[in-house]
Amino acid sequence: MTKPADQLSVYPQTLVGDQLLRFLPSADALRTVPATVYAAGVVVAFFLVAAVAPSLLQTHDPFRTDLYATLQSPSLDHFFGTDQSGRDLYSRVVQGTGQSLAIGLGAIGLSIGIALLVGVTAGLAGRRTDAALSRFLDVLLAFPNLFLALLFVAVFGATTTTLIVSVGLGCAPGYARLIRGQFLVVRNSGYVEAARALGHPYGRIVRQHIFPNAMRPLIVMITMGVGQTIVWASSLAFLGLGVAPPSPEWGALLDAGRNYVTVAWWLEVMPGFAIILFALSVTVIGQHLQDRLEGRVNP
């Protein structure tokens, strides 16, 4: 699901201000941005508006049932068709955006938080701690994350919180391993050795050199991670273990549509399409950021 640590290379030390500036594209850089990244940006912007102010983008009331217009296939009036109660699916997908993004963001936030705690400890502590933590991570990576998430749902019941916690915990080992690798590489790099040779105190080296450099790929990880966690949470919801059906959360829409797949394909395909479009867009943006960070595209 995530890329192995060695694919994230390490960048030479620059000033912190410089690092921030590199995320803000210059006029020249904007001209080199591929069209796909712009398109992805538009898609993400659309979903952000949908999350904050869904009524701006809705064509119908997402909760109003219409028994004369049930299970209609996609048309100009109903972009994504209507469901078994005649509700407009497109408006429902827009309505569910906020909750779905919140689940995705919550899960990735929790995941990165835990991963930082474990990864930084393993990456900075001594060899024994590192070995023990790495072995522990290996075990967590050994069993399918989906099953771990299911165990949480079984133990705590299916609620939004359980969904966020289980997806967040499930993704954490992969990120922890990435962060650990990143810290190890930076810790053993030439400039850290140089700083040590100059007699700088260890705390300062960690603060000024190791942290800023090891953390830079994190922005990319979070960007792509939101897409992944949303896909994940939707898998759980698809199995009927997510948020309860009345809510138009994307996964719940998928779960509700499952029973109608033979007569109304759009109920299943369209919410999935929204999920994939969002995940694809953040992945495209994330990969572009990663390429720029690694200097494969000249900013």
Partner: protein, 327 residues
Amino acid sequence: MSESTGLVAGEPTRAGRVRVVLHRLLGAIFVIWATASITFGVQSLLPGDRAELMINAAAGTFTQPTAAELAAVNAKYGFDRPFWEQYLHYIGGVLQGDLGESYQSHRPVAELIAGQIAPTLALTLSALALAWAIAIAVTVFSGGRDGPVARAFGGFQVIKAVAPPYWIGTILLVVFSIHLRWVPVEGGGGLQGLILPSLALAIPLSGFIGQIIRAEFGRVLEQPFVTSARMRGMGNLAVRLRHVLRHAVLPGITLSGWALGSLFSGAAVIETVFARPGIGGLLVTGTATRDIPLVTGIIIASAAAYVIANLIVDLLYPIIDPRLKQS
């Protein structure tokens, strides 16, 4: 590549090989022990009373059982004993293949899993085989080239990274079963019913395997032995098939051990899409009815499957790649 140059010094002794195997076995047991411990830990976080949950799960009710009823269940399953005693009892059972008893049906979990594992294994293995077939076909024809096929495959990588198998499965179901009617919607256990589910699992996985072997394929194409084969007058396709592919598949084989684990959980979801029998249905019902021993049993069984798959890959590796025997 120096098979018969009389290099005896690098050959491992029999004792050395035994030690490697033992080391791997210990590692495998460690992973299973740790998995069982983690699942036990999560179980002990269960809010509320476990005996109450059990009685309600079995009876399908939501009432408050009497103290006598609770005490009977607590005594039977040892919930009244100290935490450590329960833990040791549980781990001991797991190591002997005892995964506990289902809250719902009161049958041994190991028996329930054994009854449902065949369709899931069939799906997992056929998906793996299919993924390899797709990955190899695409790699042989596009590896080391920068044609439209290679670029299309590159674009496909991004999509497969985000397209969840359940969605691919749904699309396949809608297109091939409902609209084209090529395969029945309810495939059942036959070979015909296996086609779409394995394809849904194989498509994302073939992207993963393809990515890995394509990179290696490009590297191997630059090796001197490829040039020498071409100098002997070997055709392009023959070189690709007989010399390059053999080397390029190696990293993909390591990946397959890992992939089996992820296929197993993917299979659970795909079985739901296609309404197939198997572990997936068991898992979903178990989760929905909060049948905790069943869910943990499946987790431990799948961890064991993952560990065994990796063990086999590890032990097969020196046979596939004789160079590894030296190190």
